[in-house]
Amino acid sequence: MRLTQGQFSYLPDLTDAEIKQQGAYALEQGWSLAVEFTDDPHPRNTYWEMWGTPMFDLKDPAGLLFEVNECRKVHPDKYIKVLAFDSKKGFESIRMFFLVNRPAEEPGFDLVRSEGSGRAIHYTLRSYAAEHPAGERYRQRP
C-alpha cells in the first residue's frame, strides 16, 4: 500500500529541490519547521519521534533539507515527515505536513472487526509494521 497521509502523497515524491521550496514557503509565513520519523504510521500515532526540536531560528530552507537528509541517513527505512508550526494566536498548531521518506516496503494495516450486539461492529486498526517487539524495532543498527 501507499500511505497517503500529508499534503502531497497523491503526487510523485517530492525532489530535494521541491522540499526546499515548500520549506521556503513555510519560512515566508513565519512558521517553524520540524522533522519527525516513525516506523508506525498508524493514523492515531500522533507523536512520531522528533529529529531534534523544531527549528525556530532557521532562516534558510537549505537547513531543512540538511536535517531531512541527515535523518534519511539514520532512518532510511522509516517514514519521515516535515511539519510547519505556526505560533500565531488563533492557530498555535501545525500548518503543513508532508512526507519526505518512505520505507521500501509499506506493509499497511490490519482492520480488526469485533462484532457486538445489534449488528454493531467495533473497529481496531493495527499497523503490520509495529508487530515486532519494540526492543527489536528500536535496536540501533550497526
Partner: protein
C-alpha cells in the same frame, strides 16, 4: 402612521397620555445616541411604504423589535423604559437604490437572555418582519459584543482541533455528498462511501434529506457507512469520516442517533439548519461533551437569505451559527451552481474563520466584529464544482475549507474512486504550486494539465467537465460605494 414628523416627547405626562404616538415621539429614533461597547447592533435594510417617513420607519423597527406596541401603555412607567428601548441611531440611503435605507439600531444587552439564539432572534427577527408600514425588511448585519459572545459555547471543535484530530494540515479537506441523494439501500450507499474515501477524499456526506426513510433506515445506513469509512482508513492510513445526518423529528431521536454514531466510532455527525436554533444549540453541547465534529447543512436558508430587500442575510446566519456552535457550515462556492457573489462570500468566510473581522463594506461587513476566542467554523463549499476549477476555488476560498465534489466525484466516467483521486491530485498539485510561488489563477489550467500527465483520472475529469460553469448574475450582491462614512 402619518407623514407629520415631530421629535421625541420629553415631558412624561404628555408622553404617556393614552392614545397612539409616532415611534419617533416615543424615543425610538435617537440620532444622537452613541452605541455602547456592550450594545448589540443591527443594521436593517428598510423599504418604507410610500409616504412613510424613513426615520419614522427606522424608529418603528427599533420599537417593534424591542419594547413597543402600537399604542401608548402606562405600564412603561413602571420600568426604566428608556433603558429597554432599542434606538435607531443612524439612517443611510442605500446607494443606487431609491426608496431603501440602511437603518442602524442599538439594543441594550439587558434585552436578551444569555446564551440563547432563540431569544435573540425572537426580538431581532420577530414580529417586526411583518410590520405593515414597511414593504420589506432585511437584516443585513449584526455586531455582537464580546460580553454577549462569552455567554455562548461556540463551535464544539473548531478548525484547529478538527485538523489535529484528522491529522490533516495545509490543504483544503475534500468531501463528497452521496448520490443519488434518495433511494439507495444501506448496503449500496456504503459502497459509494467506501469508493469515494478510498479514492482519496477525507469526508463523505449524507445529504440534507437523508434521515430514515423506507428505502434506508438510519441504523442500517450508519452501520454500512462506518464499514466503508474504516475500511478506507485501513487501506490508506489516513483519518476519514462520513457525516452521519442525525436530523430527526424530535431531540430524543436525534440524541439516539448521535449516540449510535459515537458508539460506532464516527468522528463527525451532521444536522440540518431546519431543525431550529434550540435543537442546534442542544446537539452542539452534546458534540462538545462527546468530542464530535458537528457539520451543519444550511437546508432552507435560501428561503430568506437570497433576496436583497427582505429576509436575513446569510452573514448574519453564519454569525448566529458560530455562536450556537457548529464546526462546519455550507457557505458558498462562488464558482458553483448555487448563489454566491465573490464579495459576499468573502464576508461570510471571514465571519466563519477569522478571530477578528474588521468592518468592510465591500464584503458586506458593516461592523468590526471581534470573536472573543469563539472557535472557528470550517466553511464548506458544495454544489456544482469540479476538479477543473481547483485553482479558482483555492484562490477564492483559501485552504481552511471543505471542498465537496458530489457529482464531480461520483459522476466521473472511470468510476467513483477515480473521481475522488482526480480531485485529490488536482488539489495537491494546486496547493504545491501555490506554495512554490506560482500564479495559480493564471497558470491553473496548465498546472492541472501537467498534473494530469501522471494521473489518467484527472485527465478524464478535465475532459468531461471542461466547459461546465454556472455564470449567472447573483441576486444577493453588496450595495456599496467606495466612500462610506464609518459606522459607530
Amino acid at each position: 402612521m402619518n407623514k407629520l414628523v415631530t421629535p421625541k416627547i420629553t415631558d412624561a405626562k404628555k408622553r404617556f397620555q393614552s392614545g397612539v404616538l409616532q415611534y419617533k415621539q416615543m424615543g425610538y429614533w435617537a440620532p444622537d445616541y452613541e452605541p455602547k461597547d456592550s450594545d448589540i447592533l443591527a443594521v436593517f435594510r428598510i423599504t418604507p411604504q410610500d409616504g412613510v417617513d424613513p426615520e419614522e420607519a427606522a424608529a418603528a423597527v427599533a420599537g417593534e423589535s424591542s419594547t413597543a406596541t402600537w399604542t401608548v401603555v402606562w405600564t412603561d412607567r413602571l420600568t426604566d423604559y428608556s433603558h429597554y428601548q432599542a434606538k435607531a441611531y443612524r439612517l443611510d440611503p442605500v446607494p443606487g437604490t431609491p426608496g431603501q435605507y440602511f437603518a442602524y439600531i442599538a439594543y441594550d444587552l439587558d434585552l436578551f437572555e444569555e446564551g440563547s439564539i432563540a431569544n435573540l432572534t425572537a426580538s431581532i427577527i420577530g414580529n417586526v418582519f411583518g410590520f405593515k408600514p414597511l414593504k420589506a425588511l432585511r437584516l443585513e448585519d449584526m455586531r455582537l459584543p464580546i460580553s454577549y459572545l462569552k455567554t455562548f459555547q461556540g463551535p464544539p471543535t473548531g478548525i484547529v482541533v478538527e485538523r489535529e484530530r484528522l491529522n490533516c494540515y495545509g490543504r483544503p479537506l475534500l468531501g463528497a455528498t452521496m448520490k443519488p441523494k434518495l433511494g439507495l439501500s444501506g448496503r449500496n450507499y456504503g459502497r459509494v462511501v467506501y469508493e469515494a474515501l478510498m479514492g482519496g477524499l477525507d469526508f463523505t456526506k449524507d445529504d440534507e434529506n437523508i434521515n430514515s426513510q423506507p428505502f434506508m433506515h438510519w441504523r442500517d445506513r450508519y452501520l454500512y457507512c462506518m464499514e466503508g469509512v474504516n475500511k478506507a482508513i485501513a487501506r490508506t492510513g489516513e483519518m476519514k469520516g462520513h457525516y452521519l445526518n442525525v436530523t430527526a423529528a424530535t431531540m430524543e431521536d436525534m440524541y439516539e442517533r448521535a449516540e449510535f454514531a459515537k458508539e460506532l466510532g464516527s468522528v463527525i455527525i451532521m444536522i440540518d439548519l431546519v431543525i431550529g436554533y434550540t435543537a442546534i444549540q442542544s446537539i452542539s453541547k452534546w458534540a462538545r461533551r462527546n468530542d464530535m465534529i458537528l457539520h451543519l447543512h444550511r437546508a432552507g436558508h435560501s428561503t430568506y437569505t437570497r433576496q436583497k430587500n427582505h429576509g436575513v442575510s446569510f452573514r448574519v446566519i453564519a454569525k448566529w451559527m458560530r455562536m450556537a456552535g457548529v464546526d462546519h457550515i455550507h457557505a458558498g462556492t462562488v464558482v458553483g451552481k448555487l448563489e454566491g457573489d465573490p464579495n459576499v462570500i468573502r464576508g461570510i468566510y471571514d465571519t466563519c474563520r477569522e478571530t477578528d473581522v474588521p468592518q468592510n463594506f465591500q464584503h458586506g461587513i458593516f461592523f468590526d466584529q471581534p470573536w472573543a476566542s469563539l472557535k472557528k467554523m470550517m466553511p464548506v463549499a458544495s454544489g456544482g464544482i469540479h476538479a477543473g476549477q481547483m485553482h479558482q476555488l483555492i484562490t477564492y476560498l483559501g485552504e481552511d475549507v471543505v471542498l465537496q465534489f458530489g457529482g464531480g466525484t461520483i459522476g466521473h466516467p472511470m468510476g467513483i474512486q477515480a473521481g475522488a483521486t482526480a480531485n485529490r491530485v488536482a488539489l495537491e498539485a494546486i496547493i504545491k504550486a501555490r506554495n512554490e510561488g506560482k500564479d495559480i489563477w493564471r497558470e491553473g489550467p496548465q498546472l492541472l494539465a501537467n498534473a494530469a500527465k501522471t494521473c489518467t483520472p484527472l485527465r478524464a475529469a478535465l475532459d468531461t467537465w471542461k466547459d461546465v460553469t454556472f455564470d449567472y448574475a447573483s441576486t444577493d450582491s453588496v450595495d456599496f460605494v467606495p466612500t462610506p462614512v464609518p459606522a459607530v
